[in-house]
């Protein structure tokens, strides 16, 4: 847990310096780049990547802060349920994701077999 938290927060401090991302971030980027224009729900992303909410959301927050991830509220189709936040990569985020996943080819990413992303 400690190392995951460290890598989550340190990663994004170094993001602008084009450092290597953590496996968790790569997993999220891989999941998002699979269908770059599709809006994704947090729980779906959690299932896809195998990341717990406490790891997934801080990563998404930081991606959003830096303009790599866009989000919006989506009303539920079923009445009585609250609106959901949906996410997808921005154009810049897609470029970043492709570059990161390309430079990390061969590195196993949680939830994604090697070479399946991007």
């Amino acid at each position: 847990m400690g190392l995951t938290l460290f890598s989550t927060y340190v990663d994004f401090d170094l993001m602008t310096q084009a450092r290597k991302f953590s496996d968790q971030t790569l997993a999220l980027l891989a999941a998002l780049i699979d269908q770059p224009r599709k809006w994704r729900h947090g729980y779906d992303l959690s299932k896809d990547t195998g990341l717990k909410s406490g790891t997934l959301y801080p990563i998404m927050m930081r991606l959003g802060d830096r303009g790599f991830l866009e989000s919006k509220w989506e009303d539920s189709a079923k009445p009585g349920r609250p609106p959901r936040h949906v996410y997808r990569l921005t154009a810049t985020g897609s470029v970043l994701a492709r570059a990161q996943l390309r430079s990390n080819q061969g590195v196993p990413v949680p939830g994604h077999p090697v070479g399946s992303a991007a």
Binding site: Y9, S53, G54, Y57, R84, H85
Partner: protein, 200 residues
Amino acid sequence: MNSKFSVFRFIAELLAAHAGKASPRNRVDWARAMRNEMHYISGDRTALTWALGCVFTSYTERIIAMLDSNSRISRWVLSLEMLCCFTPVTLLCLAVLANLGRLDGMTGMLVLTVAATGPIGLLVALKVVVLNRPSLSKFVVGALCILAAWTGLAYSLHTLFYGEPSREWRELVLIALLPALGITHLIYLTTHRVSNLATT
């Protein structure tokens, strides 16, 4: 979501609500997103795990926001701090100016340059307080550093060679140490970039 009452679901709801309250202002939307997402999780135990993640995230974000806000300081406190740091050496400067005729030229100029830290520091502090932490130019930062170093060095040497350090340490603190600390803090405040992770 199970229609019947579940203790796990109940606790998860409480935790998610608490996470929303614990979340810093800039992350309220995210906390709400996490809480709402929980309503789409069918398993109660999974929902509880999700809620624990909400709490963990909110606490972590709160800590980050607190660490960032620690680098901010109210204007009143900063004003008081700067007055404490620079007033004694400013008074020394005024005393030197008032008695400049009695001092020989070289000594007068030397003491004046040492004491100049006071009024210059006060002016910069005034600018920082009134304009709410503008960034200082490299020239001003450099000048302040040189002034503080010169004041500290000159007064320390004077105390060491011509005074009695055991008796004059209070003056050393007031004339050399406090201005140096004030300048260090001013430079820190005006050059330290508060992370936008927690402030946007």
